[in-house]
């Protein structure tokens, strides 16, 4: 899978490349508007991470070019501008997702994971791990062919775990994923534990293997 990272901040791009490479993504970096335009003209990518503010141009223009040329690359905007206008405009032009800096690499990985699988039309928007089957489009989960009912948050958590297989996900990271903006405003992150416990119980009760492990006391890791 090929990912293009359009980001002028070197350290940020480096971190993303390092993290994504372990997931077997083939990463390329474009640090300027011109470089990015050159790359999208020549190649196709499964996913493009697009920073809107580039030193020599506006990232939204790259997005417009992609759409004009009818390219099928999935686009996730990563922006330091937390402005609703930019977000709405980006999504209107045709971006698939929008992530505001600073973000967790695990959040980004999960988004890329979902994006790529949602866009595949050969029935592979279903994810399987042994007895567990997840339908990303229908948002349903089945163990050994029997559907189990998960809440919206539990389903989100499961996808987050699956999208970050074999990664350590800390409690605060999960808290941010679950409550978005509010995470730091709530002094207590125990709600994470409650959600994970419920998810674990539902999976185990249905006969799913113990893939979800507790690490370092409060962190979690999905093994697979």
């Amino acid at each position: 899978m090929k990912v293009l990272i359009i980001e002028d901040e070197q350290e940020l791009a480096k971190g993303i490349v390092e993290y994504l490479s372990e997931e077997n993504y083939l990463c390329e970096v474009a640090a300027t508007f011109a470089e990015a335009m050159g790359k999208i003209e020549l190649f196709n990518y499964d996913c493009i991470l697009l920073d809107i503010t580039l030193p020599d141009g506006n990232g939204l223009q790259i997005l417009e070019t992609l759409k004009q040329e009818n390219k099928q690359d999935g686009v996730i905007i990563i922006s330091a501008k937390d402005s609703l206008d930019d977000k709405i405009r980006g999504l209107q032009i045709g971006a698939d997702d929008y992530l505001t800096k600073p973000f967790h690499l695990s959040e980004l990985t999960a988004r890329i994971y979902s994006l790529i699988r949602r866009r595949q039309f050969d029935n592979s928007n279903k994810v399987r791990q042994d007895e567990l089957e997840i339908d990303l489009l229908a948002k349903s989960v089945a163990v050994n062919g029997t559907a189990i009912a998960l809440t919206k948050k539990e389903f989100g958590l499961l996808i987050y775990f699956i999208g970050n297989k074999n990664r350590v996900l800390s409690k605060s990271n999960l808290a941010e994923h679950l409550s978005g903006d509010f995470a730091d405003m709530l002094d207590n992150h125990d709600f994470v534990y409650a959600h994970v416990k419920n998810l674990k119980k539902k999976l185990t009760d249905a006969g799913c293997g113990p893939y979800l492990k507790t690490v370092y006391g409060t962190g979690y890791k999905w093994e697979g």
Partner: protein, 426 residues
């Protein structure tokens, strides 16, 4: 408050009244002095004429004595009295006595007592002339002075009104322009031309001030925005590096905990940063998307998101939410406002406490149990926090206030019956 012209008119009126009051005795003294001087001269002339006329007709001493008696009978105002030798000095004086011709009225008389010589015999001549009474003179002068005083004040008043309209027009124009000036619109004022030196100077000074303010405002606005914006990237790098650190195989549990604490601090900095940016944007009025929004829907959404946090703290939540509450506002900002109010309530309510949420067509009221009243002066101040133990951004209520201000709503705080009460009036 009185306007400038009224004030100057008052001073002028005071000064004029003192001056006119002083003028009354002065006029009186002058008039009286002239009166007496003229009468003395007149009496002198009468005395000379009497002496001359008596000497002009030669007569015997007997005849003269008889004539003088007769004269004294018909002319009691100029009495001739025989003297043995001439007086050393004439005397001049005023008397008050009954006027025999006008009844019981007491009149003032000016008297000249002098010696005359008729047929080489000495006589004293007493000439009396009626003078106007002192109080009558004072009365007339006062009446005339008062008349002129009122004419003067009326004149001042009319002139002032005319001047105030004409002379002060440039000032009024400038004032109106300064009143209409809005810093965030960033358009300097173009003052009208004026040929009055003071107003021209005022306009120049104001123009400089306005331009300076605009420049300072602009640079401050840019600074807040740029600073917050620039901080996002290093924060993002830090966060990503921490994520990578967490994936290290030989990480100890202690190191994991440190990384976890660092992440929490990072999340907090990111929020402070984002809130500052949001405050700057609200102040710069960069939100123009006011639409008709359903507050009840937003409130339900927010409560649903926070539901688990209510439960977590075992808070008892009561709500009376009216359906179809429509107000005009920016939906993003209104959402931030509602979230901040609710999260504040969650954070500051002791476990198992109560939260009451009420929404009507005009008001949103959030009540939560508490122990003591909050300082209303510091409540909405940036970075002033009620408790030191929690890790709030210290910007939550400032944001609520700014959002309310921006959308033309009012926020009020009360503490009663051991409950904090925040109410937003749309």
């Amino acid at each position: 408050m009185k306007n400038l012209l009224q004030k100057s008119l008052r001073q002028l009126t005071r000064f004029a009244s003192v001056l006119f009051a002083l003028s009354i005795p002065s006029y009186f003294l002058v008039v009286d002095w002239i009166w007496l001087k003229e009468l003395d001269e007149n009496n002198q002339l009468i005395a000379q004429r009497i002496e001359y006329e008596f000497n002009k007709h030669p007569m015997t001493d007997e005849k003269l004595t008889e004539n003088i008696r007769f004269w004294n009978q018909i002319q009691p105002v100029s009495k001739i009295i025989p003297l043995s030798r001439p007086m050393i000095k004439d005397s001049l004086y005023s008397v008050r006595r009954l006027n025999p011709y006008t009844g019981d009225e007491r009149d003032r008389f000016r008297v000249l007592k002098t010696s005359i010589n008729i047929n080489n015999r000495y006589y004293a001549l007493v000439v009396e002339t009626n003078v106007e009474e002192t109080e009558e003179t004072v009365g007339y002068i006062t009446a005339v002075t008062l008349l002129f005083f009122f004419l003067l004040v009326a004149g001042f008043w009319i002139l002032n009104r005319r001047l105030s309209v004409k002379l002060w027009q440039p000032f009024r124009n400038t004032l109106q322009q300064v009143k209409d000036f809005q810093l965030n619109k960033q358009t300097p004022i173009t003052f009208d031309e004026t040929d009055t030196t003071e107003f021209a100077e005022l306009n120049t000074a104001l123009d400089r001030l306005v331009r300076h303010s605009i420049a300072a405002y602009k640079s401050q606005k840019e600074f807040t925005e740029n600073a917050s914006h620039e901080l996002q990237t290093p924060l993002a790098i830090l966060k990503n590096k921490l994520d990578i650190l967490l994936q290290t195989d030989d990480l100890t549990e202690r190191q994991y905990r440190i990384a976890e604490e660092m992440n929490k601090a990072l999340v907090r900095s990111a929020r402070i940063n984002r809130n500052l940016l949001l405050l700057a944007k609200i102040e710069n009025k960069q939100f123009e998307g006011a639409t008709l929004l359903h507050v009840d829907t937003l409130l339900h959404q927010s409560m649903e998101t926070l539901y688990e946090h209510f439960n977590e703290k075992q808070l008892i939540v009561c709500h009376e939410i009216q359906a179809e509450v429509e107000v005009n506002g920016d939906s993003g900002l209104t959402e931030v406002m509602i979230n901040n109010l609710l999260i504040n309530a969650i954070r500051y309510t002791p476990p198992a406490g109560k939260i009451h949420i009420r929404l009507s067509t005009t008001k949103l009221v959030v009540t939560n149990s508490g122990t003591q009243t909050l300082d209303p002066d510091r409540l909405y101040k940036r970075f002033s926090k009620a408790a030191t133990t929690n890790n709030g951004s210290g910007l939550g209520l400032s944001l609520v206030q700014e959002i309310c201000k921006f959308q033309g709503w009012t926020v009020a705080y009360r503490f009663e019956n051991n409950e904090h009460l925040f109410s937003i009036t749309f």
